[in-house]
């Protein structure tokens, strides 16, 4: 059964017709071919599928594409601007915030909201903010450092 939807993804307007049971992550990966958003657990636990929907980090494996109608979505592909890495992407690169990289897009998208809500988080706040994201490689330390790195960069940008 086709459900018409209209969404903005990474600044681009998209119109489509989806099956009622299509999950948002499937729509993003299979129809829009934005495969940076990953599916880890498919059971709302691991956070690999996290995207920003209307300003909030959500697990796109647990949202119907049909429900996303009218929303403004940012995926990992939408972060870099004019070939320049987003401060979080740079932080993950500089601080070795990834090993296999599977969890990274979800970690970064969750951190986007974390830094928006709290631009200068403490280490404890960063760890708490990542409670919905699993990493099976790094042991988290470098991920926390990467986000801290980005928060300092944000500070430089906003205070000149």
């Amino acid at each position: 059964m086709g459900v018409p939807i209209s969404v903005t993804v990474n600044g681009q307007h998209r119109e489509s017709e989806v099956d009622s049971r299509t999950l948002l992550v499937q729509f993003i990966r299979e129809e829009l071919r934005l495969t940076g958003t990953h599916v880890g657990c498919d059971t709302s636990s691991c956070g690999a599928c996290t995207i920003i929907m209307d300003g909030k980090a959500v697990k796109s494996c647990t949202v119907l594409a049909a429900s996303a109608n009218g929303s403004d979505i940012t995926t990992i592909e939408g972060l870099a601007q004019n070939g320049e890495l987003h401060p979080l992407q740079e932080g993950f690169k500089e601080e070795h915030g990834l090993q296999c990289g599977f969890c990274t897009p979800g970690m970064i998208m969750t951190a986007v909201q974390l830094l928006e809500d709290n631009p200068q988080p403490s280490e404890a706040e960063i760890r708490h903010g990542l409670e919905g994201n699993y990493c099976r490689c790094t042991g988290y330390h470098n991920i926390v450092k990467a986000i801290y790195h980005a928060s300092r960069k944000y500070k430089e940008v906003s205070h000149g």
């Binding site: 059964m1 009622s20 999950l23 636990s45 119907l64 429900s67």
Partner: protein, 284 residues
């Protein structure tokens, strides 16, 4: 994992949602945040013929003061409740409960109405709503009714909600100024659902505990107010001994659950520990 086929219906207003519920009958399911329903549908534990999406109904998402009550729209997310300064000033246990639910992504989507309708025995909301003497407003195409939280929860995944009814609002009486409240829980480490959750709200006057409300979630298949604990402390001065004696009475009147997360004995022990912590926190 993909849910089985269903008809998708988007409701733009409460009225539309109620019409759709009446039209589609018992085979239809309301979809709010989807964070209980969609996982169940993906596992094919639930295969509704029609899904009525209320997530876009703006008029169901609010937190406001209305006379002697604070009222919360059914589609308000856990995340928005966790950030409410109005609630944090007047009934802090509500904000504490919201902030303890799942993780940030779950709180961004999951709604208070959805959690109440789902009635998971390990859900966080029931304890603070019972201790806060909340009322739940239910609407159907034939009208509206208000049910006290104590009468709403009836058992494992079972509530007083009728098939053609929609939860529209949660109403909390504003406690008087000398009231303190808190919510504490022992969480399942992966999902963060409550193995034991305890809410306490105490009004004091002249140094003694005037009104005591203590409620549990996670302990028994139905969340409950624990009158034995309440009565043990009511009229008493808040001393360590009195708190200890009251907490010892926790979960005496209910059938305590046991499962692979926590045995019956362990849960019962935790109920006492968390009752003590909650009472200590509000009386300190």
């Amino acid at each position: 994992m993909i849910p089985s086929e269903f008809e998708y219906c988007r409701a733009g207003s409460v009225e539309e949602a109620l019409d759709l519920l009446a039209q589609k009958g018992p085979d239809a399911k309301i979809l709010a945040g989807g964070h209980s329903l969609l996982p169940a549908m993906k596992l094919r534990l639930n295969s509704p013929g029609a899904v009525i999406d209320i997530s876009g109904i703006g008029e169901l998402s609010y937190i406001k003061e209305e006379g002697s009550h604070l009222v919360i729209g059914a589609c308000t997310t856990h995340g928005d409740i966790a950030k409410s300064t109005l609630l944090s000033e007047k009934i802090p246990m509500i904000v504490e409960a919201a902030a303890e639910i799942g993780d940030v992504q779950v709180r961004n989507k999951g709604t208070i109405g959805g959690s109440l309708a789902h009635a998971d025995p390990a859900a966080d909301w029931p304890a603070s709503l019972l201790a806060g003497e909340a009322e739940i407003v239910l609407a159907s195409s034939s009208g509206e009714r208000t049910v006290a939280a104590v009468d709403f929860f009836q058992g494992l995944f079972t509530t007083d909600l009728g098939e053609n009814e929609l939860i529209t609002e949660i109403r909390l009486p504003i406690p008087d100024a000398y009231t303190k409240s808190t919510y504490v829980k022992f969480e399942q480490p992966a999902s963060r659902f409550a193995i034991v959750g305890c809410a306490a709200s105490i009004t004091r006057s002249n140094g003694s505990c005037d009104k005591v409300r203590v409620a549990f979630t996670g302990v028994s298949s139905t969340p409950f107010r624990d009158q034995a604990v309440e009565q043990a402390l009511e009229g008493q001065a808040p001393s360590d001994d009195n708190i200890e004696a009251a907490a010892e009475k926790a979960a005496m009147s209910v059938e305590v659950m046991g499962d692979h997360f926590a045995s019956q004995e362990y849960r019962k022990h935790l109920a006492k520990v968390y009752a003590r912590r909650a009472l200590q926190a509000v009386l300190s």
